[in-house]
Amino acid sequence: MIVRLVQRIAILLASLVVSSVLVFAFMAVLPGDPARVVLGTSASDAAVAQLRGEFGLDRPLVTQYLSWVHGLVTFDPGNSYISHTPIGPQIADRLQVTLWLVGTGMVVACILAIPLGIVMAVRHRRPSGLVLSALSQVGVAVPAFLAGILMITVFAVEFGWLPANGWTPPIEDPVLFLKQLALPALSLGLVQGAVLTRYVRSAVLDVLREDYLRTARAKGLRPTQALLRHGLRNAAVPVVTVLALQLATLLVGSVVIERVFVIPGLGSLLLDSVSNRDLVVVQDVVMLIAMAVLLVNFLVDIVYLLIDPRLRVGAS
């Protein structure tokens, strides 16, 4: 167990270093000069060169990389090129917004996928199971932003039940907050839920074919009882993996959803910063997302060890 844990931590650290190098290298080769974007269409070359100096862009790449990593490690990423405000609080503010979105999206997906997937697996040869299965395929095929646009058109513009876009923090106006959160969370959650349903279904199907489940039935448990008591825990391992992978998809998917619903989250910050060539902010946000994904994968590995005792035994 401990060997495993140390292994995992080493992998996590190595991945973090590699991704930081990659992120930095991508930004360095991105065409477009931040100083020119700030100074605009008709700035003189001298003015641009001076501003590049102020930004520290005239230093060797290695120095730039090291000072960036130093900033990250000491939790002081410095100021944005463009807005002249500290990056840390800016990202923190936006992250909270995105976490709400991703969190509720995930909850919607789970609420939808777990019962539906189980029903689809149990009834996989019956018409109701087939219909559900077909519907979930459609769900998989629809991109989240399209779902979002459709829902805006129907529920906001046509019926006027919910606001079309915008964001209000929960402490300021909880009711408006929920109203505004509903459509984006649904559009993220529905599509992710459809994907997740497929995995839950196949995981449960696999479990249904296992010997131990037949044994449980033979001991006199009804099918549902057997599944609930002995099956779900086993089916959970692959589902948890997918959930973790989906967290990454959700983070990325929220970039587009935030644009469609005009939500000032991490995704909007990322897009704006790319277009303004606010490279430090882009670097930091991408790195944060990379870190989140790596960390989630790390945690999933740990959760495996908890859920499945076989893995623990195998290690020691």
Partner: protein, 506 residues
């Protein structure tokens, strides 16, 4: 049993973690979109481009002066809706006989939002600061200033190195904004001006809230606060108005969608004019467009009316030159190169450039992508070979087209006021138009009397058009949609400011 106990423990841990997250999130977020306060007292306007920060002395972009000029900052003189120069912080001014010295009489009893009084010393400080501290190219507009003298707290004397008609006009733009001597330390986040509003909150990625300022010297604004809400996606902006999240669409980016508002008694569609000439830029310096006949062929090949109908819903104005109708020297030059496909073919053949492929490099902006494909198709019908590619705006387009002039044709709206000089008057501009006669005319216009200015500017615009230095597709309209009861909206977008001082509700 052991299993169950462990499961419960996990469940508890998970529940506790979730609870923590929820608490953290609840306490979180100073980011709100729009105001939720009293809607009668708040006006919410949807706009497209968000300012990168609030400092227009060091950061380029039309969005910053659009929000702040005349509203937070004031100038000595300002432009009205017909683009005429009007008094603002200067109640009057006079020009000396040699046309070099302006004497301004300033309004008394004006205070900045930081409490400091506004005097001629501040005006002197602001004008001189443009040359010493600003980093933008616009700072060159103050190079003509020789000396600035604060004669008394309410009298300012500015002497120019040579007569310049343009200088007073530029004083209505961002370079003429008046700053407090004690209020320039944090321009990017905390602007200090004499205007009727102050910046109350800037939610990056979302909105700027302007609040009415107590003790403003002029007429008090009707609304206690005005929220400028920024939308990257034009459809989202339309939906926001339809669902009541905003009250006004300040800059309509999708003329095709106007029908959603035009037949609805709840809304009013406003169509005014702008300074935004949509230019089909031609690279006069190198490549196939260096050839004058090839450039003329391009101008004959384009059916401007059909183009504007297709890509901008028929809204806008055909102008045929770099001059909008609100400038005193406007003349309709659309008949200089009337649409004539056969003539275009013939000229293209004579130019010897017929076999070459033109690179039409478009910025990723709604009007550019919409109109670019129409341009391509019209040119191809006249025998041109055109390859279209898109460059991300602003960064990639600025570097590739604007700085390196690595293009044959591009398409961009030049929205700055009176920008003939900036775009065509310099050999190093991306158009690479180089005509000493043209430059001489501009100089004459700047230094002469007002009549001479008009005559020379007309001659310059005509010369530019004759040389086919570019093609002027159309003038962008100023399209706004507002709730029926909103009054005092700036119908014409002719200054750098979105002038919010006259807003009201009927």
């Amino acid at each position: 049993m052991g299993h169950i106990r462990r499961l419960t423990r996990h469940t508890r841990t998970v529940a506790a973690t979730l609870a923590c997250l929820l608490l953290a999130a609840c306490s979180a977020g100073s980011l709100a979109t729009g105001g939720t306060g009293d809607s009668r007292n708040t006006l919410r306007i949807g706009l497209s481009a968000e300012p990168a920060n609030l400092d227009f002395t060091k950061t380029e972009g039309a969005a910053i002066p659009q929000a702040l000029l005349y509203n937070v900052y004031e100038n000595l003189v300002k432009l009205d809706q017909s683009a005429r120069i009007r008094p603002s912080l200067a109640k009057s001014w006079s020009l000396s006989k040699d046309r070099r010295t302006y004497t301004f009489q300033l309004v008394k009893g004006v205070r900045f939002s930081n409490g400091a009084p506004f005097t001629a010393e501040d005006a002197k400080f602001s004008i001189e600061r443009v040359t010493s501290e600003w980093t933008l190219v616009q700072k060159a507009q103050m190079d003509v200033v020789d000396t600035v003298e604060a004669v008394s707290p309410t009298e300012l004397k500015v002497t120019l190195k040579r007569p310049s008609n343009d200088w007073l006009y530029r004083m209505t733009t961002r370079v003429g904004a008046m700053f407090s001597r004690t209020g320039v330390s944090k321009l990017a986040t905390d602007p200090v001006g004499t205007g009727p509003y102050v910046v109350k909150r800037f939610n990056r990625g979302d909105s700027i809230t302007l609040a009415r300022r107590d003790g403003y010297w002029g007429r008090e604004p009707h609304f206690a606060s005005v929220v400028l809400k920024y939308f990257k996606d034009p459809t989202a902006m339309n939906n926001a108005l339809l669902t009541g999240t905003i009250d006004v669409i300040g800059a309509m980016q999708t003329p095709d969608a106007l029908y959603r508002f035009e037949n609805n008694p709840k809304y009013r569609v406003i169509e005014g004019t702008t300074n935004g000439e949509v230019v089909l830029s031609l690279n006069n310096g190198s490549g196939p467009m260096k050839n004058p006949k090839a450039r003329q062929a391009v101008r004959y090949a384009i059916d401007h009316k059909a183009l504007m109908d297709t890509c901008w819903g028929g809204r806008g104005k055909l102008i045929g030159s770099m001059v909008p109708p609100t400038d005193p020297w406007y003349q309709n030059l659309t008949d200089m190169y009337p649409y004539d496909r056969d003539k275009a073919r013939k000229l293209l053949k004579e130019s010897g450039q017929a076999g070459r492929t033109l690179r039409l490099r478009l910025p990723t902006l709604p009007y550019a992508t919409a109109c670019g494909t129409v341009v391509k198709s019209q040119l191809e019908q006249a025998g041109f070979k055109v390859r279209l590619d898109q460059l991300e705006f602003p960064a990639a387009w600025l570097t590739t087209v604007f700085k390196n002039a690595d293009y044959d044709m591009s398409l961009i709206a030049h929205v700055e006021p009176r920008d003939m000089q900036a775009v065509f008057g310099s050999k190093t501009s991306y158009i690479r138009y180089d005509n000493p006669e043209f430059r001489a005319l501009l100089q004459k216009a700047d230094q002469g009397t007002q009549e001479e200015q008009i005559t020379s500017m007309r001659a310059a615009a005509r010369l530019l058009s004759k040389d086919a230095a570019a093609d002027w597709l159309f003038l962008l309209p100023n399209l706004m949609v507002a709730d029926q009861d909103i009054t005092g909206l700036p119908v014409n977008n002719v200054s750098e400011s979105l002038d919010l001082t006259g807003l009201g509700r009927s």
